[in-house]
């Protein structure tokens, strides 16, 4: 009340009294419908009663219609009525002036008396470009900025998992119930795009001829008390050997964004009369391209119904041209070795005839199992089963069935292959590699198209007679291509023959497979089976 009393004594009231006096002197009366009404209510559908008159005015007065876009509350204005007393220009001007003063006086009076909330429903004509908050909300044109604001809804955000940013585009996954992520107060237009994998798959090219910064010495050349394991060097050092894998100036050893990079997988152990060492190493090419190892192996053991034991191993080399060959190789090696073991366990005796009679069914069964049934199947990260083809999983297949029973008369191994992963018998005492099956083509610069599973189940099967001291070895071409070249055993072949004439410990075996040699940049896998007697 104190404030209102103060207002009544203010200049507003004095202004109003003066305007009334002038109006009375001129014999003019003001119609009651010249009251202030918010304009905006009339441009929305479902207008309250009383807006019809403004709509009619909008249809006949284009100027008024265009004013709809001004985000301010406008007084509803009627044409001033002619009084009939003043016909001259001077009189009309005076009348207009008086009318304006009176209307302004009424407004300020009302402003002083109404509640603070009502004040916001009006914007001064002198301030039309700076609408009040209430006017902004009510104007249709002013709603556009509101629509552009971030739609903050923590519940929805959490359910869709949109708060989780991954570095690379992935397939749509089942949503995960998460706590609402913290929302940064930023414009959605400025949200960063997900990083593209393709941007990092190749190294930055360093212009040759420019003075380079000081070279970091390679740890392999370090002279210190540290015990640094050095891989065997075959021929001249490769470009990769000249730099540390963590060198900040290059990106030559990148993790796979999809995980399961599998730089080293190794199994060492015995079963029956067999000693087995198997290792798979990611090659420099895939380190450079931030891809996982596309080779895989699986080693299992089985006992047939007569009690004879066997080591069963499957080696797969995923095709580079297949999108998900890394998964195809892992999955195929697993399911095929499983199926081969079950095949063995359901028979009294295992020989090449038995394998030949059953292998087609076994491979057909595995073919059905290779494609993942669900997105999050173990190891199938990023693979959407609904959008894949069989060829996306293409891989070579090599299997070994090695007898592991000391007392058995059956010492012959049964091997099979789809594609070009070579099989060797290492004649240990002589240090000679005998290659079985696929021999590299003598023609050069010919694209080596190879058969691949699951696209093909045509498999070549052979029975190998193993002599005392022989080592049965399966390799992917990342190693096997460099053992013999056109009948000549290479430096690598000679080195490995010497190393593996008898079993070695795990670290030595892995280090042997990690040899450094120019151009040997593919993934490498070796499965070696020795006889313990």
């Amino acid at each position: 009340m104190k404030n209102r009393a103060k207002l009544l004594s203010s200049s507003y009231l004095r202004f109003f009294v003066a305007a009334c006096a002038i109006t009375l002197l001129s014999g003019f009366s003001v119609h009651s419908h010249n009251e202030v009404r918010p304009f905006v209510n009339c441009v929305e559908p479902g207008n309250p009663p009383g807006c019809e008159q403004e709509k009619k005015n909008e249809k006949t007065d284009t100027t008024n219609a265009s004013n709809e876009t001004v985000p301010t509350a406008q007084p509803a204005e009627d044409e001033p009525r002619s009084s009939g007393f003043f016909d001259g220009v001077l009189e009309k001007t005076l009348l207009l002036l008086v009318f304006s003063m009176l209307a302004t006086g009424i407004f300020f009076l009302a402003k002083a008396l109404v509640s603070p909330r009502s004040q916001n429903s009006y914007t001064s004509p002198t301030n039309r470009n700076l609408p009040s908050a209430a006017g902004y909300r009510q104007s249709s044109s002013a709603q556009a900025p509101v629509r552009n604001r971030p739609q903050v809804n923590p519940v929805v955000t959490a359910n869709t998992g949109s708060g989780i940013r991954t570095q690379i585009p992935r397939v749509e996954r089942e949503s995960i119930e998460l706590a609402a992520p913290v929302q940064a107060n930023v414009d959605t237009n400025n949200v960063a795009e997900p990083e593209q994998t393709s941007a990092r798959v190749r190294p930055n090219l360093v212009p040759v001829g420019m003075p380079e910064a000081e070279e970091t010495p390679n740890v392999l050349d370090e002279v210190s008390e540290r015990n640094i394991i050095k891989p065997p060097q075959i021929g001249d050092p490769s470009a990769f050997r000249k730099k540390n894998w963590w060198d900040p100036k290059v990106e030559w050893c990148q993790l796979s964004p999809l995980g399961m990079t599998s730089d080293i997988t190794c199994d060492i152990g015995t079963f029956g009369s067999s000693a087995v060492a198997a290792a798979s190493l990611r090659g420099n090419k895939h380190k450079l391209d931030a891809k996982p190892c596309q080779d895989a192996f699986n080693v299992q053991s089985a006992t047939d119904m007569s009690g004879s034991q066997y080591v069963v191993s499957v080696l797969c080399d995923g095709m580079s041209s297949a999108r998900y060959s890394h998964y195809g190789a892992r999955r195929t090696s697993q399911v095929l070795s499983d199926a081969l073991c079950r095949m063995i366990e359901s028979s009294d005796f295992v020989d090449i005839d038995y394998v030949n009679a059953n292998i087609e069914n076994v491979l057909e069964y595995c073919r059905q199992k290779v494609i993942p049934s669900e997105i999050d199947l173990f190891g199938a990260s990023g693979i959407d089963p609904s959008s894949v083809e069989e060829s996306d999983f293409n891989t070579t297949v090599t299997f070994l069935i090695a007898p592991s029973t000391t007392s058995s008369n059956n010492t012959n191994a049964i091997v099979g292959c789809i594609g070009d992963s070579p099989i060797f018998i290492l004649h240990g005492p002589e240090g000679v590699w005998e290659q079985i099956g696929v021999i590299d083509s003598p023609d050069e610069l010919v694209n080596p198209a190879t058969a691949a599973f699951p696209g093909s189940i045509a498999i070549a099967i052979d029975e190998l007679v193993m002599q005392k001291g022989d080592v049965l070895v399966a390799m992917s071409d990342g190693v096997g291509n460099f053992i013999n070249v056109r009948g000549n055993q290479t430096l690598l072949g000679t080195y490995l023959a010497k190393q593996w004439s008898t079993p070695v410990n795990m670290a030595t075996f892995v280090n042997d497979v990690s040899f450094d040699m120019k151009s040997a940049d593919d993934d490498r896998t070796v499965v070696a089976i020795w006889q313990r007697i």
């Binding site: 040759v208 470009a239 420099n284 090419k285 071409d477 460099f482 053992i483 072949g493």
Partner: protein, 224 residues
Amino acid sequence: MSTETSGNAVLPFYILCDESGSMDANGGIDAINSGLPELHAAIAGDPLVSDKCRIGLLTFSDIAEELLPLSNLSDVGAMPGCAAKGLTNYGEAFNLLRVVIQRDIANLKAQGLQVYRPAVFFITDGEPTDDWEANHRALTDKAMNPQAPHIISFGVAGANPAVIGKIGTKAAFIANNGVDPGNALKEILKSLTNTIVNSSSSSVPTLVVPSAPPGTTAVPLDTM
């Protein structure tokens, strides 16, 4: 049995470049000399490629010269430049190339390397000024030369499409009418670089024949 073979795979590439007088006037020499360092940087900076390919640079005009012996570009500080002079004697170029390839393959094999069939990029801006076909046959006929290379030929400016088609054994390209020779050669150098990188990047080196560089058209190869 030999134990001297390391088994390293090597893919030799030769760039056989025209440096006749006309290559100066049409901006061809400048285009080549600006493109070679880029080729050098692209190959020497890629460990997969530099380990597998070797590059040699030969030029021809009145005579043929070997500017850069077959090399691993990561061991080369800078590429030599071309200089325009003389006529356009294709025959001299093919003859020198045959001798150089025989020498280089022998050297590589002596180092225990596994050598793939060489690939040659032939670049010219004009018609030949000599009798070249016998030397070309001696180079490319596998019966006469077991180490016959694959040739990809490029022609700009006044090059004759029919001749370019006869020289190429894997692919041939001719610059389109109205295309500036210098610009065409820049595109050809980029295509050449991509071909080397793509061919050497796979685990088993495989010659990846390029598609027509921008501003050029593929020419049908000569058939026998």
